[in-house]
Symmetry: C2
Subunit: 374 residues, 2 copies
Amino acid sequence: MSKEKSFQFEVIKQDKQTRARLGVLTTPHGIIYTPAFLPVGTLATVRTITPEELESLGTQVVLANAYHLYLQPGDQVVKKLGGLHKMMNWKRPIMTDSGGFQVFSLAKLNKITNKGMEFQSHVNGSKHFFTPKKVIEIQENLGADLIMSFDQCAPYPCSKKLAKEAMERTHLWAEDCKKYWEEGNKQFLYGIIQGSTYSDLRKQSAKFIVGLDLPGIAIGGVSVGEPPSKMYEVLDVVEPLLPQDKPRHLLGVGSPLEILGSVSRGMDTFDCVLPTRIARNGAVYTKDGRVNLKNAGFKIDKDPIEKGCQCYACKNYSCGYLRHLLMTNEILGIRLTTLHNLHFILSLMKDIRESIKKDRFEEFKKKFIERYKI
Amino acid sequence: MSKEKSFQFEVIKQDKQTRARLGVLTTPHGIIYTPAFLPVGTLATVRTITPEELESLGTQVVLANAYHLYLQPGDQVVKKLGGLHKMMNWKRPIMTDSGGFQVFSLAKLNKITNKGMEFQSHVNGSKHFFTPKKVIEIQENLGADLIMSFDQCAPYPCSKKLAKEAMERTHLWAEDCKKYWEEGNKQFLYGIIQGSTYSDLRKQSAKFIVGLDLPGIAIGGVSVGEPPSKMYEVLDVVEPLLPQDKPRHLLGVGSPLEILGSVSRGMDTFDCVLPTRIARNGAVYTKDGRVNLKNAGFKIDKDPIEKGCQCYACKNYSCGYLRHLLMTNEILGIRLTTLHNLHFILSLMKDIRESIKKDRFEEFKKKFIERYKI
């Protein structure tokens, strides 16, 4: 029985000054108000944090990585443990990516053909073969609400020849993914647009993926080392070609400034390891920019990371204590910086939604950027 | 102004069949019902856990290590950050040890004389000198409720000559600590009994320390590698020499069976890294004994660690998921095993107190031991 009807996406407001939009994405595990940020829980856990903590931060949806979970504990194991939601005790929506980007960035890629990718695990060197069919199967076993088609990500910089080849393969695989997905069709599938930084390729890819008429549209191959201006060029070329009534996911983007820049270019959802990864290195977001709590200047600082911040870390702990925890590799330290950074980004998303609602997005964005020093 | 009156200890019930006793230790930060277990928060954090989680587990008091905090972030830094309670956001009582055991077990000891210990930090090799005065000063700066006199711990096995020397130095230092402590006298000082496994030395040490008439009495130099039977011999020799109206702390003991054996020999409080340290290796307590969740047998196990267990880990997660988190070094895994093990030990302490209250301690102890396989 198809559960397709459990999914629905609606744009409820289009900003007048920018291409920003307010949306509502309904899934079997609840509603996602967009623009939304997805904390990354690579191995079916957002590192250091419980599901209850994620909920209390206002997390609407998390992203888990199919590649990692296929390797450990195995998608079959996840299925036997009741699927991702049950296993990790997370009741809200989940998105999984297809593994294409992870094979590209983490694994040792042995061979890539139109059939798929042969690679060696970054964990133990074991050999594996991902095909569009396999990647859909894995994501079915994991059981996320939102899933991705298999794609080949091009590096940056990249010759036009390679970019074209990767794009064409991504298109072939998207068609294949659609075919296997239609047999199951219980999940919400995104097709991924590639094409590197070449405007003509990006246009071609956007048209092709839109033509497949999948439920969602994702943009991949950005945030792979190119300057933000290049990414914005890509979005400026692609966005006008996208249908208004489908959600757009921007893969791998998550710095405060790039989120703002991408929301204003019509993107709806974002996933990125950045807020949680930098937290584990001691770096935290403030309205004045990013600071590293390991700096000696925080040694006897009795103040919280940011005065007035309502996160658990700021309400209860001084920078001096946080620095001590970070310097001694105490886990509570990175729990607290993770909580703070997620609170920061999720609050930013809430503020973005509020400002669109009140026709003040452009003003909000300008003020934020003026104050925020990278 | 002396705060000595904020402290009080009372034995409210003496078990008839054993030497177990129920007590109430009142401190400026609240009451400790004994027998009690102190989770260890070496660096002013019980590893992976927040103070709120500790409270919800029923933790009455934690122990922090003076040696570690003197090195990082420095006792002066802790003082500037408002003292241990304020810094770590823990509102209930805290005990610190004196550092004698840590210099013995962790640092490179360069020289030991009646004046004190010269050692090199295990963190960076820097040289330091601990004297009784210094150790009291450090503990004053840290600001715990319950503090320890400076002691020299003898290894196991140990020649009688060395055991005697360490004991005599411990006595000298206890006298010195008393002197410096009397000048401040805002904390509850425990004298430490040493003497290795030699009954005559232990008797001599017990008499000496009791003679100092300090508020509390601690037994050190146990759980340093000797078999439990040897430790029980020590307790059997020492306990009859201790005043009934002072609390007895047994340093470094924390396995379920040794806690039961020591409670029945009249000990009131216990601190130990064991429950939290083994948790970080994937080992968890159950009523049937200790198991390691990394074992392959747990791979697709949908059950919790222990059915009916009311801890957060057992109420929400399967062994299969816990194993996955542990195998991939995900921090949530060791958070959950830490919560479970502390819940187990703190529930055991509660059951022990209940059973003494109801004149059923011996029966409870027997049943627990019969079922529990090490």
